[in-house]
C-alpha cells in the first residue's frame, strides 16, 4: 500500500509536468495565431483579354479579324546557373526561337527579360506547359533581393501582349472596311477603328468584357474557385456581318481595275443595292489599299469616295427633276418640247446639246438627255417645289449609310432657285454637289415604287455565343406616288432601249438607267475633265437591284462619254450578277 501511494504521487508529479508541457504548447500556439505576421500573398488574379469582333462578309469570309499575341518573360536571377543550358534548349525547342537569340536576351539584363513578344495562342499554350515542366525540373531557384530582403521565385511566365488586327481579304472591300490604329492600354496593345466600318461600328466591335478570375491561390498560382473567388466570363466584341458578298465584290473589283486602266480614269466606283431593303450587295472601288500594310501612296485611297467626295452629277439629275415635275403634275410625258437643234439661249446663258433634234417629246428629253429640253421643263417648278423636291430626294443631307465621315453635298438656297438660270443649271446637274451614294439612294426611289430606303452595309451583328441582333431597319419614306415611280421606270427603260444607255441592255432582264457626263469645274471654268456616270436598275422576276457606276476623270480620248465608259461597265456588272445567280434572265416573256 505504501508503494502504491508513492507511485501515485510520482504519477501525479509526472502528470503535472505533462500538463505544463501542454500549456506551453497551447500558449505558443495562441501566440503565433495572434501575432502580427506578414503572410505571403495568398490571392491571385488572372485576366484573359476579350478580343475585338470580326467583320464578316455575307458569304462567311472574315474581312477583318483579331489575333491575340502573347509574350514570354523570365527573371534571369531565378534561373539556376547549372540548369541554364537546359532552360535554353527547352525554351528554344518549345518556342522555335534559335538558342543564340535567347541566350543573347538572357544576357541582356539581370532581372526580368521578355524572351519573345509576338507569340500566337497555340505556341503560348506550349510555352505554358513548358513553364510547369521547368518548375518540376528544378530550373528555378529562389532569389533574395539584397536591398529589400524579399525572397522570390518567379518561373517562366506567359502573358498577353496585345492583339493584332488581320485583314485576310487584303485589299478587297477597302476602303469600306477601313483601318485601325494601335493604342497602348495598361501595357497591352489594343486597336481602335479609324475609318470605314472599323470606325462606324467601333462601339460594337469593341471587346465587351475581359475575363477576370480572382481568388486564393495554391503554390503554383492556380486559383481556387470557391465562395471567396470572383470570376467574370470573357465576352468578345460583336462580329459585324456585312450584306456584301466577298466573291462578288472581288469580281467587281477586278473588273474595275481593268476598266480603270482601259479608260485611264482616276477612279471607278460601282454600287449594287437591293432596291427593297437598301442592303448593299457590293460597293467596289478601283482605288484600294491593303489595311495590313498601309503605305504612303495609299493615302488618297483611304477615303471611300462614294460617300466622302462630292461632285456635280450632271445629266443623272434630269430624271430626278423630271420625276418632281410628274409629281407636281407640271408635265405630261407626251408633251412636245422644242429643243432648237442643239443650241438655245436662256437669258444670258447659252445651253447646248450633243445632238440636233428640233422637237422631242417630254420623256424623250430624258431618253436622249437634252439639256435644252430639261432647262425649259424645269421652269415649270416653282422655287419651293424645286427646293423641297431636292430635299425630299435626300440631297444636301447624309444618306445615313453605316459609314463615318459622310459628306452632305450642297444645293442652291431657295432664293436662288427662283432664278431661271439656277433652275436650268440644276435641272441638268450643275450648280449643286452630291455624293455618289446620294444619287444611288435617289434613283432607288424609282426602282422601289416611290419609296426611299437607307442604304446599309451591315445585315446583322452577332456575339461569339451565337446570339444574333438584326440591325434596326430604317424608316421607309414615300417620295413619289407609285404611278410616278412606275412612269419614271418606263422612261429609264426606254433610255436603255433607245437612248443614251443602249449599251447597258441585257436580254431577259428589266434594265433602265440614266447617263451623266459632267464637266468638272476648275478655276472658274469647266476643263476637259469629266465625271461620267450611269445610274439605274437591273431587275428580274424576283429581285430588283439599283446599280450605279461612276467613272471619275477618264482620260482616254473620245471615251469620256458615260455612254462609252459607265454604260458598258454597268452591263458587265449586270453580267456578273447573272453569272453569280443574283439575277436570272427570263428569255420567254417579252420585255
Amino acid at each position: 500500500m505504501e508503494h502504491s501511494d508513492t507511485r501515485k504521487i510520482k504519477i501525479l508529479f509526472l502528470f503535472t509536468i505533462v500538463f505544463f508541457g501542454f500549456i506551453i504548447f497551447l500558449g505558443t500556439l495562441f501566440y503565433w495565431a495572434q501575432i502580427d505576421r506578414r503572410l505571403p500573398t495568398l490571392s491571385y488574379e488572372e485576366n484573359d483579354f476579350a478580343s475585338r469582333g470580326s467583320i464578316i462578309s455575307s458569304d462567311g469570309f472574315k474581312i477583318a479579324t483579331s489575333k491575340k499575341l502573347y509574350k514570354a518573360s523570365v527573371d534571369t536571377r531565378n534561373i539556376d546557373p547549372d540548369k541554364r543550358t537546359l532552360f535554353l534548349k527547352l525554351y528554344s525547342l518549345y518556342s522555335g526561337d534559335p538558342i543564340e537569340q535567347i541566350d543573347k536576351i538572357l544576357k541582356s539584363n539581370n532581372g526580368i527579360v521578355v524572351l519573345s513578344y509576338k507569340i500566337d495562342a497555340k505556341k503560348a499554350k506550349y510555352i505554358q506547359s513548358l513553364a510547369k515542366k521547368l518548375i518540376r525540373l528544378g530550373v528555378f531557384r529562389s532569389y533574395e533581393d539584397p536591398k529589400t530582403k524579399v525572397t522570390f521565385t518567379h518561373g517562366l511566365s506567359v502573358g498577353e501582349s496585345g492583339e493584332n488586327r488581320l485583314y485576310p481579304a487584303k485589299t478587297s472591300m477597302t476602303p469600306l472596311v477601313g483601318y485601325i490604329k494601335k493604342i497602348e492600354q495598361d501595357s497591352i496593345t489594343k486597336v481602335m477603328g479609324v475609318k470605314g466600318i472599323e470606325r462606324y461600328y467601333e462601339d460594337k466591335l469593341l471587346a465587351i468584357q475581359d475575363s477576370f478570375t480572382q481568388g486564393q491561390r495554391d503554390l503554383s498560382n492556380a486559383i481556387i474557385l470557391n465562395g471567396k473567388s470572383v470570376s467574370l466570363d470573357k465576352i468578345d466584341g460583336y462580329d459585324i456581318h456585312l450584306s456584301i458578298s466577298l466573291k462578288l465584290q472581288k469580281l467587281l473589283e477586278n473588273l474595275l481595275d481593268e476598266r480603270k486602266k482601259e479608260f485611264d480614269a482616276k477612279e471607278i466606283v460601282v454600287a449594287v443595292m437591293h432596291a427593297k431593303s437598301g442592303a448593299i450587295l457590293s460597293l467596289a472601288s478601283s482605288n484600294r489599299y491593303d489595311p495590313n500594310f498601309i503605305k504612303r501612296e495609299d493615302y488618297n485611297a483611304l477615303n471611300p469616295s462614294s460617300i466622302e467626295d462630292v461632285f456635280e452629277p450632271g445629266s443623272v439629275m434630269k430624271s430626278i427633276i423630271f420625276s418632281l415635275l410628274l409629281r407636281e403634275n407640271k408635265v405630261n410625258p407626251y408633251d412636245i418640247v422644242r429643243v432648237y437643234g442643239g443650241k438655245f439661249k436662256l437669258g444670258k446663258q447659252v445651253i447646248t446639246d450633243t445632238h440636233d433634234y428640233e422637237w422631242l417629246s417630254a420623256e424623250d428629253v430624258i431618253v436622249h438627255s437634252s439639256n435644252i429640253g430639261m432647262a425649259q421643263l424645269a421652269q415649270n417648278l416653282d422655287a419651293i417645289e424645286f427646293y423641297q423636291g431636292l430635299k425630299d430626294f435626300g440631297f444636301s443631307q447624309k444618306t445615313n449609310i453605316d459609314l463615318p465621315y459622310e459628306a452632305k453635298g450642297m444645293i442652291p438656297p431657295i432664293q436662288k432657285l427662283k432664278s431661271q438660270t439656277y433652275k436650268a443649271t440644276v435641272s441638268y446637274g450643275y450648280g449643286l454637289s452630291t455624293t455618289f451614294m446620294q444619287i444611288l439612294k435617289a434613283y432607288n426611289v424609282f426602282n422601289n415604287n416611290g419609296r426611299m430606303v437607307t442604304p446599309s452595309l451591315v445585315s446583322h451583328i452577332a456575339l461569339q455565343n451565337g446570339k444574333k441582333y438584326e440591325m434596326p431597319s430604317s424608316n421607309e419614306k414615300e417620295i413619289l406616288p407609285i404611278s410616278v415611280a412606275k412612269r419614271m421606270q418606263k422612261i429609264l427603260i426606254k433610255t436603255v432601249k433607245k437612248g443614251t444607255g443602249t449599251r447597258a441592255a441585257y436580254e431577259g432582264l428589266q434594265i433602265g438607267g440614266k447617263t451623266g457626263t459632267a464637266h468638272i469645274a476648275s478655276d472658274g471654268g469647266y476643263a476637259n475633265n469629266y465625271n461620267s456616270s450611269f445610274v439605274g436598275f437591273a431587275n428580274d422576276d424576283k429581285n430588283k437591284f439599283t446599280i450605279g457606276v461612276l467613272v471619275r476623270e477618264p482620260k482616254k480620248r473620245y471615251y469620256h462619254f458615260a455612254s462609252l465608259n459607265a454604260v458598258p461597265i454597268f452591263r458587265e456588272v449586270v453580267a456578273k450578277l447573272v453569272d453569280e445567280g443574283y439575277l436570272q434572265p427570263n428569255l420567254t416573256s417579252e420585255q
Binding site: 507511485r7 504519477i11 509526472l14 495565431a33
Partner: protein, 386 residues
C-alpha cells in the same frame, strides 16, 4: 471490473478526426501526383476502422493470459524484422533517401519501427518489473542493474537512428526509457545523472556538427522574438541572432497557424496545405488543422489527447500488477512525447524532428501500432481498480 470505455471512445473520436483531415489536407498532393481525390481518405478510413476493431478485440482478452505473449511477441518480431530489413532486396523494402523504413507486402507496406515502440515499452515494463524494485540500493548497484538496458538501447539506436535515419523515434524512445527506469524504482540521483549526461551528449552532438548548428540557429531565429520578450532588454539584445532565415517548412507552418487565427478558415478552407506545407497530412498535420479549425479547435483536440493521457495514467496508477503499471505508463509517455515533440516542432518551440502525431497524422503503421498499444492498455484497464 470493466474496460475503460471512456478511453476507447476518446481514442475512437481522435481516429475519426484524423480520418476527416485525411480527406481535407492532402488535396494538393492528390492533384500533384494525379491520385484519386479519395486516395488518402480511403486508406486512413480503412486503417482507422481496422484499428478501432483491433482495440476492441484486444480489450476483450484476458491480460493475465495474453498480454505477455502479445507484448514480447511483437517486440521480438519487430526487432527481428528491423534487423533483417537492411538486408532484404529492394523489391521488399521501400527506402526514402537511403533509409529503409518500410517493408513492402502485397497491397500495403508497413513500418516495423512503429510496432517496435509498443513492443519495446512492453519489454521494458516486463523486464523492469522483474529486475527493479523500490528497495534502497547504492548508485553503483543501480548502474549495474541498468547497464544491460543501455546495451539494448544502443542496439535500438543502431537499428533506428543509424540504419533508418529516424532520430525522432529514438528520442521518443530514449525519453520514455528514462522516465520508465525512474518509475520502476531507481533513485532521483540516477535520474538526474542520466538526464544531465544526456544533455551533455546532446550539446556535444550539436557543437560538433555545422549542419546541426545551423538548424539550431535558424530555429532560434524563429523563436527568439517570442522567448526574448520574456527577458530584460539587455540580455535579450545579447541573445539576439540577426539575419538568419526562417526555415521554409516552419515558416509556412507558422503562416498556417497565423492564417487560421483563433477560429480557423473553416474545414477544407486551408490555403497553406495547397503546396506550401508539403508534409501537411503527416508531420505538419497540426499546422494544417490549426489553419482550418483555428487555435481554439486545436485546443479542443489537445484537450482530448490530454484526457486520453489522463485516463492512461489513471489506469497505470491503479494497477497493482507492476508490468501493467509500467506498460500503461510507458504507453502514456509514448503518446505524450510524440505529441509534444511534434507540437513543439510546428510551433518552433524546439527544432523540428519528423514524428507522427498520435491518432491524427496520416499513416497506417503508426495508427495501427497505436491502436494495438491502446488495445493492450484497455485490456489492462479491466484489472485496474477504476
Amino acid at each position: 471490473m470493466a474496460t475503460d470505455k471512456t478511453l476507447f471512445i476518446l481514442s475512437t473520436f481522435c481516429i475519426f478526426v484524423g480520418i476527416v483531415f485525411s480527406l481535407s489536407l492532402p488535396v494538393f498532393t492528390t492533384l500533384y501526383f494525379n491520385y484519386n481525390e479519395w486516395h488518402f481518405f480511403v486508406r486512413q478510413f480503412t486503417v482507422g476502422m481496422v484499428g478501432i476493431f483491433l482495440m476492441w478485440s484486444l480489450s476483450r482478452l484476458n491480460p493475465d493470459r495474453h498480454l505477455s505473449f502479445l507484448g514480447l511477441g511483437i517486440f521480438f518480431l519487430c526487432l527481428f524484422l528491423m534487423g533483417i530489413m537492411h538486408f532484404l532486396p529492394e523489391s521488399l523494402v521501400t527506402s526514402a533517401g537511403g533509409a529503409k523504413r518500410w517493408i513492402r507486402l502485397p497491397g500495403f507496406s508497413f513500418a516495423p519501427v512503429e510496432f517496435f515502440k509498443i513492443g519495446f515499452v512492453y519489454f521494458l515494463a516486463w523486464s523492469f518489473a522483474r529486475k527493479l524494485d523500490e528497495s534502497k540500493k547504492t548508485l553503483k548497484e543501480e548502474i549495474k542493474l541498468i547497464v544491460p538496458y543501455v546495451g539494448v538501447f544502443l542496439i535500438v539506436i543502431y537499428l533506428i537512428a543509424v540504419l533508418q535515419n529516424d532520430l525522432g523515434q529514438v528520442v521518443v524512445l530514449a525519453l520514455t526509457l528514462a522516465v520508465m527506469i525512474f518509475f520502476a524504482g531507481t533513485s532521483v540521483k540516477l535520474f538526474v545523472i542520466s538526464v544531465s549526461s544526456a544533455i551533455v551528449i546532446f550539446i556535444i552532438a550539436i557543437i560538433t556538427s555545422d549542419h546541426r548548428m545551423l538548424r539550431i540557429k535558424t530555429w532560434w531565429a524563429t523563436i527568439q522574438d517570442m522567448v526574448l520578450s520574456l527577458f530584460p532588454t539587455q540580455i535579450a539584445h545579447a541573445l539576439r541572432v540577426e539575419n538568419a532565415p526562417e526555415p521554409y517548412q516552419i515558416s509556412h507552418s507558422l503562416n498556417a497557424i497565423r492564417h487560421g487565427g483563433l477560429f480557423g478558415e473553416g474545414l477544407g478552407g486551408g490555403i497553406f496545405k495547397l503546396g506550401y506545407l508539403s508534409e501537411v497530412h503527416t508531420d505538419f498535420v497540426l499546422a494544417g488543422i490549426a489553419e482550418e479549425i483555428g487555435a481554439i479547435g486545436v485546443t479542443f483536440l489537445t484537450c482530448i489527447i490530454f484526457l486520453i493521457i489522463y485516463r492512461i495514467f489513471r489506469i497505470s496508477s491503479r494497477s497493482s500488477n507492476r508490468v501493467f503499471y509500467l506498460f500503461s505508463l510507458g504507453m502514456g509517455l509514448l503518446i505524450v512525447f510524440s505529441f509534444l515533440m511534434n507540437a513543439y516542432g510546428i510551433t518552433s518551440i524546439t527544432p523540428i524532428k519528423g514524428i507522427a502525431v498520435p491518432f491524427l497524422s496520416y499513416g497506417g503503421s503508426s495508427l495501427l501500432a497505436l491502436c494495438f498499444g491502446m488495445g493492450m492498455v484497455l485490456m489492462i484497464s479491466k484489472r485496474a481498480k477504476l
